[in-house]
């Protein structure tokens, strides 16, 4: 964390760019919507449990989309469920981030060929920021996906967002 290990000669005044400060605050506490669909949800639960802790990165599960920053789509998305996911996505306030976890959410997974009720990838309905491959991805892979999302947030800029 670049801001906090600098030496402060002055005592208690910190000078930083607004972009850096806002991004640092946002990436250190990504509150996710607890949204588990299928088998990947169990690996997500295992990531939040004590062995591969999610909480040390500041990620807490929230129950309602109105209080969440990110949503981790873990599991197969079916046509029946896709309309509900769109509605949940629209209920989340900005800035919001989507992590697509698992092969089924990326591209339809093992059900791509004969699945008449499976949506082949969640990016047909909502825009995705990070794709985590695997069937199911190991908890370490999900943690790497989270770190990539933090990278992406670190390079954001208020100016570009507004324009």
């Amino acid at each position: 964390m670049g801001l906090l290990d600098k030496e402060f000669s002055d005592g208690n005044i910190v000078i930083a760019r607004v972009d850096d400060l806002m991004n640092w605050a946002r990436l250190s506490s990504i509150w996710q919507l607890g949204f588990g669909l299928a088998c990947c949800a169990i690996e997500m639960m295992a990531t939040s449990a004590s062995h591969y802790d999610f909480d040390r990165f500041g990620v807490i599960p929230r129950n309602t989309p109105r209080q969440a920053d990110a949503i981790i789509i873990s599991g197969t998305v079916t046509l029946k469920m896709a309309t509900r996911i769109k509605r949940l996505y629209e209920q989340m306030p900005d800035p919001k981030y989507i992590i697509s976890m698992g092969s089924c959410a990326n591209c339809g997974g093992p059900y791509w060929e004969h699945g008449y009720h499976v949506l082949k990838g969640i990016d047909r309905v909502i825009p995705v920021d990070v794709y985590v491959p695997g069937c199911p991805p190991r908890p370490e892979a999900l943690l790497e996906g989270l770190l990539k999302l933090q990278e992406k947030i670190r390079n954001e800029s208020l100016r570009k967002k507004i324009s």
């Binding site: 469920m81 093992p110 009720h117």
Partner: protein, 371 residues
């Protein structure tokens, strides 16, 4: 003149923190009292039966993993036993012992998740963390054997995919020694906890006749007092060589057949699984695990229905073969599909908060309900 009242329809929608997946419950309530509960399913329908008709017999096995993703070894076991019945082949002894050890370890892992989420829904968050830590031991045993933590594709028709690691026996014995005190810790923390008993005793009482008529199976049926276990009724593989008991609900802290009984049956079943593993782990015979795997699997024309005891109940596979390389029809009788029909019966007259306790005690997995 009487006051005009109306009932309210409350929707516990597909996205909900405690519905164990994507299940939609439509509750008709009057104040806090429940008048009726209608479950709506199908939000995870992944067309397993259509895929099974398009793949060859060995290619269906990874798809069966993903049905009940918490007990993947049990799903594999059921499918493989059904196809071997159609083919009529003999399995080597080593393979039978390994399959039973894996199935019982999977039963313990699945019950750990069931108990942890049951407690977490009611509000007890500590057992969730403790039990998931213990589940990681079992997952590392599986990972040592076949490389995957959750969805294994391990049991093949006629054998298993990999032989066990040289360290497997030693590590399993260490796990057994480590796990027995954990059950004692769980009992102290959750089972005889006064708040847990207040939330689950005398809630959702299921009489035996209703249970049999609705087709319930597994801990849901055994919690009502009937000693029915497919491993003893219709023995498959070599379960008839092992000595274990079938725990049933006795109404220790409430009525027979309430939520606490169904929960306690799962705790006792974990101990019985440890007994089976202890009896099997020292006596694994030698041999080759790949010797009985046929080169081309083309069963003769016919039908078979065979069932196994999954952690959630009786899992049945009905396979029709027409002599080709692909099955003609595979129908899966999922235990949670049949157990979920009980929701309408069990919730009548209870409060909204009890719906969560009853759903947790039924222990459903949406992957196998929707297939």
């Amino acid at each position: 003149m009487a006051l005009k009242t109306e009932t309210m329809v409350l929707n516990m929608g597909p996205q909900h923190p405690s519905t164990h997946g994507v299940l939609r419950l439509e509750l008709e309530i009057e104040g806090e009292l429940i008048l009726s509960v209608k479950p709506h399913i199908g939000y995870l329908h992944r067309c397993f039966e259509k895929h099974a008709e398009a793949m060859t017999y060995p290619q269906v096995i990874p798809y069966t993993d993903r049905l009940d993703y918490l007990a993947a070894m049990g799903n594999n076991f059921g499918y493989v036993v059904a196809v071997e019945k159609l083919l009529g082949i003999q399995i080597p002894e080593r393979v039978e012992y390994i399959r039973i050890i894996m199935a019982e370890l999977q039963r313990i892992a699945s019950h750990l998740v069931a108990i942890a989420t049951n407690g977490a829904d009611i509000g007890a968050l500590t057992p969730f963390l403790y039990l998931f830590r213990d589940r990681e031991y079992i997952l590392s045993l599986f990972e040592m054997t076949c490389g995957a933590r959750m969805l294994y594709n391990y049991m093949w028709i006629g054998g298993v995919s990999h032989d066990i690691h040289p360290d497997f026996v030693r590590k399993t014995k260490e796990f057994i020694i480590h796990f027995r005190p954990t059950i004692v810790e769980l009992n102290n923390l959750l089972t005889f906890n006064k708040i847990f008993i207040e939330r689950t005793a005398n809630i959702g009482i299921l009489p035996i006749d209703t249970a049999i008529n609705f087709g319930a199976s597994g801990p849901v049926l055994r919690g009502s007092g009937l000693q029915f276990d497919v491993r003893k009724e219709d023995p498959y593989s070599i379960y008839n060589r092992f000595d274990f008991e079938i725990p049933t609900g006795k109404g220790l802290v409430g009525t027979v057949g309430d939520c606490w009984d169904r929960y306690y049956v799962r705790v006792l079943e974990m101990e019985q699984s440890l007994r089976i593993i202890e009896q099997a782990i020292d006596n694994i015979p030698g041999g080759d695990v790949h010797s009985a795997i046929p080169k081309r699997i083309k069963p003769p024309k016919g039908t078979v229905y065979s069932r196994v005891e999954n952690p959630r109940g009786e899992l049945g596979y009905f396979i029709i073969s027409d002599g080709n390389l692909n099955p003609f029809r595979v129908k899966v009788r999922a235990p949670s599909f049949v157990n979920l029909e009980l929701m309408g019966e069990l919730c009548k007259g209870h409060l909204v908060a009890d719906v969560i306790a009853i759903l947790g005690s039924l222990d459903i997995v949406l992957g196998e309900i929707d297939r």
